[in-house]
């Protein structure tokens, strides 16, 4: 019998916290009381606190069991397109936990926080170098917040010229955060379609670009895994009407050390440290979304900024045209630190190698699976490739079914149903940290699943079989939301 990659194991059920515990238990070592009790206005106080009481061991078991129901990157491959699920180095976790960093109050006088300030300045320089841009702000707490910052930078640029433009061009392949961020800044997204080759054409931009359009939001490489070859020409068209080009740098993993984004005409770019720069996803966050800008946008960067004066570092608000603040303090320092360590561990040669190998891995998968899944764009891809379920339609098998069955083979499914331009999209990004053997396993699993679709499609429709739960009733969850217990 062929051995599946995924296997059964003994996981335990675990109830909710408040279904456990008993009143009076405690899992915390309460600190010694060395002061008296002081009177407190009873009008302000509340004796009732309806939180469960658990012992320490109960908590340990609770969360240990919960963790075992999760699939993590350390468990197996996550070929999620546009997420860059690469290995999260453990040394970075250890160093982020150093007391000097973890225990540091953000409002310490600069003289007492030189290490952190220095790290931030150096990271800014690294990211400027990697992107080919001139100045960086590490403040945005995630990619979407970086996008909002970019929108605010563009808004301020026009405001300084006495203009208030109302539109921004957003390609049909854009990530949902793009139009959402634009809308937060009061811009109406103007959609443009990609060509049959899957990239943007200058003429389609020319058609819609006018003096009321703030600019364009471009992802490069785009969400189809293709390099926007016409970006420079598109940037010229946008700039000609004094619009600006926003670059969504989520896919930076394809081009480190290979492409100079500063030369593509992009004016502002965001990065996702939790993608390209190996910081962990944490089940949904925290991440970090620095923005990198060309010189003309530098005066508008968020404050405070770290500046260097006579070999010392300090924070300064003295940037009168700054867009303001996006974060209470300086951004997710703990995440920045990990990216900093990653860049120092890799070095320039390995960062470029990482991009090369990411692209090699994606092309390898594309070649090996192009007869298994329908490939809408049969041309060399970058770090990710997009398939669809078109070849499986006759068996009435959907992308969703393929995705769920992949779990039984020990893989997290790829990104599905995105980008929207491909019906039933399956977007695969292996990243450079997956070995050839891992890719071959994945390829074999896909081929086996497609065969199952032909011979016994119910195996897919009933999938997943090995997970703790089967497919969820998402309809009831949305009709009758039960958000607290």
């Amino acid at each position: 019998m062929k051995e599946y990659f995924a296997t059964t194991g003994l996981n335990l059920n675990e109830p909710l916290l408040w279904e456990r515990g008993k009143k009076g238990r405690c899992g915390f070592s309460l600190p010694r009381r060395d002061v008296d009790s002081y009177p407190l206005d009873e009008e302000l106080a509340d004796r009732e606190l309806n939180l469960p009481d658990l012992s320490e061991f109960e908590i340990i078991r609770h969360y240990t069991r919960l963790s075992q129901w999760n699939f993590g990157l350390d468990t197996g491959m996550y070929p999620l397109g546009s997420c860059t699920m690469k290995y999260n180095p453990k040394i970075n976790e250890k160093l982020a936990g150093l007391n000097g960093f973890a225990g540091a109050h953000p409002l310490l006088p600069a003289t007492l926080s030189q290490g952190a300030l220095k790290l931030m300045v150096q990271l800014e320089r690294f990211l400027a170098e990697i992107t080919g841009m001139d100045a960086v702000s590490l403040q945005p707490a995630a990619g979407a917040q970086g996008e909002l910052t970019g929108m605010l930078l563009i808004y301020t640029y026009h405001k300084m010229k006495g203009q208030r433009r109302s539109k921004i061009i957003v390609p049909d392949t854009a990530h949902g955060t793009n139009p959402a961020s634009a809308a937060l800044c009061g811009y109406r997204p103007v959609p443009v379609e990609s060509t049959e080759q899957g990239i943007l054409s200058p003429s389609s931009i020319d058609k819609v670009m006018d003096e009321d359009t703030a600019g364009i939001m471009v992802t490069n490489p785009n969400t189809l895994g293709l390099f926007e070859e016409n970006l420079k020409r598109i940037a010229e068209i946008v700039h000609a009407k004094d619009g600006l080009v926003y670059g969504d740098g989520a896919n930076m993993n394809a081009i480190m050390g290979i492409v100079d984004m500063g030369k593509t005409g992009v004016d502002v770019l965001h990065l996702n440290l939790h993608k390209t720069f190996s910081t962990p996803h944490g089940g949904g966050g925290p991440g970090s979304g620095p923005v990198c800008v060309r010189k003309h946008l530098e005066p508008f960067l968020p404050v405070p900024r770290v500046i260097e004066e006579n070999g010392k570092y300090l924070l300064s608000d003295d940037f009168p045209h700054s867009v303001g603040e996006l974060h209470a303090f300086y951004g997710n320092f703990g995440v920045m630190l990990k990216a900093y360590c990653y860049i120092l561990s890799m070095g320039p040669g390995n960062l470029k190698k990482a991009s090369q190998l990411a692209v090699l891995n994606a092309n390898y998968i594309k070649e090996m699976l192009k007869d298994t899944f329908y490939l809408p764009y049969d041309r060399p891809c970058m770090h990710e490739c997009v398939f669809s379920d078109r070849l499986q339609r006759d068996q009435k098998i959907l992308t969703l079914d393929i995705a769920k069955r992949l779990m039984d083979y020990g893989f997290h499914p790829p990104t599905i149903y995105f980008p929207l331009v491909v019906n039933g999209a399956i977007m695969i990004e292996p990243t450079e940290t997956e070995s050839k053997e891992e890719l071959d396993h994945f390829i074999e699993a896909c081929k086996t699943i497609v065969k199952e679709a032909e011979q016994d499609p119910d195996l897919l429709r009933q999938a997943p079989k090995y997970c703790k739960v089967k497919r969820m009733d998402e309809t009831e969850a949305a009709r009758q939301p039960c958000l607290t217990g």
């Binding site: 916290l17 899992g27 009790s37 002081y38 106080a45 606190l49 469960p52 969360y63 963790s67 999760n70 468990t75 160093l95 000097g100 960093f101 540091a104 109050h105 003289t111 007492l112 290490g115 990619g143 808004y155 949902g176 634009a182 937060l184 109406r188 290979i258 492409v259 100079d260 962990p280 944490g282 089940g283 949904g284 966050g285 925290p286 603040e325 209470a328 303090f329 300086y330 997710n332 995440v335 360590c341 860049i343 120092l344 561990s345 320039p348 390995n350 190698k353 090369q356 090699l360 070649e367 060399p380 779990m407 997943p464 703790k468 739960v469 497919r471 969820m472 939301p481 039960c482 217990g485």
Partner: protein, 443 residues
């Protein structure tokens, strides 16, 4: 390099499959005009051991416990974190997992966040809490935008005693909108002055922070009443959620939305981030709420399970009409907060909050007895403002050399409060340390 598994044989074999002669050839279609030809000007790769040394060195320049006694809060709080929390949080199935879009393989995160949502809702006395936002500041901005969406009005009134950086973030978020942010002044007693409300019309929301930036506890019930008289939404915000282990929670005082910073719960200060934006509201507003939501449901065989729900509010579906642009949030920090709250339990949280209050009152009393004026009379939780003599800056610097950070000077944020300092005492500070501080400032 240990993170790159490809051998030369692997590369050769794969290049052959792909039909490229070299790795460089994979990029042949990239226009020449944007190619990089020079190597990146970055430091040479460091070994793990060199990196370790470098980071240790950098970290040594930072002023932290136990060496330094830091009496500062102002949005970032030093609390004891039990060893169990980082231990559990460090499990790679929590750390390295992705957003739980595939619920069958993410029940750990999903149940963990559902529990977090529940604990937050109970703590704040609200009906529904989301799965986290970035931090307290953006949570407040999002709460105000949410109120604008719900009421379709274009003005919000926020207290000047909300954390100055939070107000800055709100203004930044509001800058490109056609909405107005009005500020409410403060009274001599250290609470918000609500009197300007009577002349305001068509306001979407009134927001106060409690305990506020001066550490004072606001009269939430009264604020709520006056806000609802204006048919506006009552938003309460906080930087120190531990206060609600002791004080009446926002929900019981009429809050429509409660939001703030959860860093105190199991997350180290970390030089300001990552943090934890908490947001909770009445159930009837849940479809207008930003951020992810985890809901309980059943699988097709009747098993209880959890799933991300009401996703049509979010950017990946609603795009430009989404309730927010947020995608990545602060999930792991939310899990830490849940673990922390679970460790303390209801009784423990109450006791710890009481200890914070008492220690802070002790320092207040000692300072009073030493002849210093406590700037505001209103009751406080674990922070308060004290007025130090005119040339205190010199003393402050001397204290820094003695490894004592004697609070946060308020002058940069409230120019009228020159010589006033915001002090914070949590359970981490000992009686001895407080006695030392008082002795030092007296001399």
């Amino acid at each position: 390099m240990r993170y790159l598994p490809h051998t030369d044989e692997d590369i050769a074999s794969m290049l052959e499959t792909v039909g490229a002669g070299s790795l460089d050839e994979l990029f042949k279609d990239i226009p020449e005009s944007c190619r990089r030809h020079e190597e990146l000007h970055l430091p040479e790769a460091m070994t793990e051991w060199e990196l370790n040394d470098l980071m240790l060195d950098l970290s040594k320049s930072m002023a932290t416990s136990p060496e330094y006694k830091v009496f500062m809060g102002a949005g970032s709080y030093e609390h004891h974190i039990p060893a169990t929390v980082p231990y559990l949080l460090g499990r790679s199935e929590f750390v390295t997992s992705y957003t739980p879009y595939q619920p069958e393989m993410s029940q750990g995160t999903l149940q963990g966040i559902y529990e977090y949502q529940t604990l937050v809702a109970r703590l704040l006395g609200m009906e529904a809490a989301n799965a986290s936002l970035y931090d307290g500041a953006s949570a407040l901005a999002e709460a105000l935008l949410m109120a604008i969406r719900i009421t379709r009005r274009k003005k919000v009134a926020i207290s000047s005693l909300i954390h100055p950086m939070y107000r800055q973030v709100v203004r930044t978020y509001f800058e490109p909108t056609d909405c107005q942010v009005l500020e409410l002044p403060y009274l001599e007693n250290g609470r918000t002055d609500l009197s300007p409300l009577k002349d305001m019309s068509e306001i979407a929301a009134v927001a106060v922070q409690s305990p506020n930036f001066f550490g004072c506890i606001e009269d939430l019930q009264d604020t709520g009443k006056r806000t609802h008289e204006k048919e506006a939404l009552f938003i309460t915000c906080f930087t120190e959620p531990l206060a609600y282990g002791l004080l009446k929670n926002p929900g019981s005082q009429g809050a429509d939305i409660a939001c703030g910073e959860g860093q105190s719960f199991g997350i180290p200060p970390s030089f300001g981030g990552p943090a934890l934006g908490m947001l909770a509201s009445r159930m009837k507003y849940v479809r207008k709420m930003p951020g992810r939501l985890v809901g309980m449901t059943k699988d097709k065989e009747g098993r209880r399970g959890f799933v991300l729900t009401l996703s049509t509010r979010e950017q990946h579906i609603r795009r430009e009409k989404a309730t927010s642009n947020i995608c990545t949030n602060s999930s792991l920090c939310a899990l830490a907060a849940a673990m922390y709250m679970a460790s303390l339990g209801g009784s423990g949280l109450g006791e710890l909050a009481r200890l914070n209050y008492d220690k802070s009152e002790y320092l207040k009393e000692k300072l009073r007895k030493a002849g210093f004026r406590i700037s505001f009379q209103s009751a406080t939780f674990n922070e308060f403002v004290v007025e130090f003599p005119e040339n205190f800056t010199a003393t402050y610097k001397l204290l820094l050399d003695k490894k004592i950070v004697a609070g946060l000077p308020l002058k940069p944020f409230y120019p009228e409060l020159m010589n006033h300092y915001l002090l914070c005492v949590t359970e981490v500070r000992t009686r001895e340390e407080m006695d030392d501080l008082v002795r030092e400032v007296k001399s």
